[in-house]
């Protein structure tokens, strides 16, 4: 029983850590990057002005990839802590 409690505590610790990592990435690509759009527009990426590109496409690509990675990471945590569904 006590191992079960320990496992659950560890699971929640690791889940929280993963949450903070992904919220951090999300914060950067939702807000920080766009705050500096005028400066980034001075640079070019795939022939796009970079600030424009990040808002029209770049941030979106990051979100999509991030979520598929998150799904795998969280699933791995669930399995390693023995709390995944059967």
């Amino acid at each position: 029983m006590s191992t079960d409690v320990d496992q659950r505590a560890l699971h929640w610790e690791r889940t929280k850590r993963l949450m903070f990592v992904h919220i951090g990435i999300w914060f950067v690509f939702s807000f920080v990057v766009h705050w500096f759009a005028p400066q980034l527009n001075g640079m070019s990426f795939m022939h796009f002005p970079l600030g424009y590109y990040m808002a029209a496409q770049g941030a979106l690509v990051v979100f999509v990839i991030q979520l598929f990675v998150f799904v795998r990471q969280q699933d791995a945590i669930d399995h390693e802590c023995g709390v995944a569904e059967d």
């Binding site: 889940t15 992904h22 705050w35 005028p38 029209a56 979106l60 690509v61 999509v64 969280q74 995944a84």
Partner: protein, 609 residues
Amino acid sequence: MSMFRMQGAFIDNLPKIYGLYTGGFLVFVALMAILEQMGLGADTIGLLFVGFTIAIYALIGWLSRTMQVDAYYVAGRQVPPVFNGMATAADWMSGASFVAMAGGIYMGGHPYLAFVVGWTGGYVLVAVLMAPYLRKFGCYTVPDFIGTRYGGNLARFIAVVVLVVASFTYVTAQINATGTIAARALLIPFEVGVWFGLLGILLCSMLGGMRAVTWTQVAQYIVLIIAYLVPVIWMSNKQGFGIIPQLVYGDAVAKIIELEAVHQIGTLKPAEAVAGMSALVNPHSAAADSAMASWRFVTLVACMMLGTASLPHILMRYFTTPSVKAARSSVAWSLLFIFLLYFTAPALATFTKLQILDPALATSIIGKAISDVNALEWIQKWSNVGFLKIIDSNGDGILQINEFFMRGDIVVLATPEIAGLPYVISGLVAAGGMAAAMSTADGLLLAIANALSHDLYYKMIDPKAETRKRLIVARVLLLVIGAAGALVASLKLTGILGAVAWAFCFACSGLFFPLVLGVWWKRANRAGAIAGMAGGLIAGSWYLYMVKFAGMKPWLGLDDLRFGIVGMAVSLVAMVVVTLMTEEPDKETQAMVDEIRIPRGDTVLGSSH
């Protein structure tokens, strides 16, 4: 029909069934193209496109009818992640995304891209903070979670109020859009079109609830994404940008920046104002270099993202997956399917603008003789319905950028004609717009009716009601709310986009923190949640009223599209302060929170609570 009766066989055969459906739809498009070549009129093609697709959705709605509670509320919890992702994408992408977004980007430039970022990134919050935990909880509706996690009818009731305010604001805009498209395609007056659109929406949802809405939304996603991508890819090919235009339109952006100097965009201001229309004055890609511009961008992004993670019609889609893990991966699939449209919208805006500006293209109109431009068929057609206007302010007979007025909404709808594509493409786009608006309206109406029937009627008024009675009440409410929505929509009180942004702000003001903290902060209690929901909703509504209607000067540039920032700030502070001032929740509640944090085990609420 037997396929839908035997759920197991139906679920196993989903890829085959929707593959056939997609093939059938493409055959229908090809048939229309052939008939057009044989001389079938444009009006008839439009009518066939909209009529045929609505008939298919209604058929799916009929086949999915049910009298079981968990099929009606959560589609029996057996929707596979990929298909739930498509259904969510259709649920999510509304008339605003399909019709208005590219036009907004065309007219507004960089500041408008805040909607593109805001309406995608919110899914990160949904996946990381909410969806898997709500799925483990096993609720039927969002207020069901609030009511059980915090306990008591008052918390449940306020959650219902927030849900109704946000969703109803949203749904009137969608019924408005279905009415507009139905009116144009079927050649009936707008006021009749609104009721016709509602009829189509109810055919999809009334008999089968969430199950019917799920399978029609998958069908609607397929139509809307084909309808959105085909014209852009076609146009990009014609302009020599290849078949994956989204990756290579950087050069088109550069070309527009050059042409902005040539046509003096931003320098030439319109000499007069035309109601409901505007001339192009904003740069396409440049971002204003000021802290205020950046602040306005990120605050709009924040309202849209946190609103995404609070909108009940989206969250409830993740109650339908077979497992917690499936709920999580379904969010990722949803975002991928949404991404396909959202990363195309700026490309569409760019190519269409180039069609109009670039003197090297035969379709360009800026810098041409006004008499020639007025002779173009699409100019005549859209001027006749009051969506476009040309005024020769300086009397030189040449069309300058500040003499060409239009409504942003027409960018998507008129693009096939502007680019000289065959009419079959316009018919396809009309069917896509209809699918987008109908699927969102379906989800919203169902979210409202379910909250009223499950949370208000069953949980609070008549807990002893038998299954049959519950489901009849749910359907009657759906009908009443749909009718109320159509009535409000026919009054045309707000524009599509404004109403949608308000809905997001209402949702995040009232629900974001009570939902997130309900999972992530065990200490959060009933008094805090009530204070957070009521405080956020009241503060947000008050600020909206003051800024929009009472002439108050916005604080820090937070206009009526961004009132969620004020609502959320009040909600967070009220919830935390009141929670800390009152007792912590009982052991039972804390154990419940522990339980939803792990995927293993039964849902907290039983399968037919």
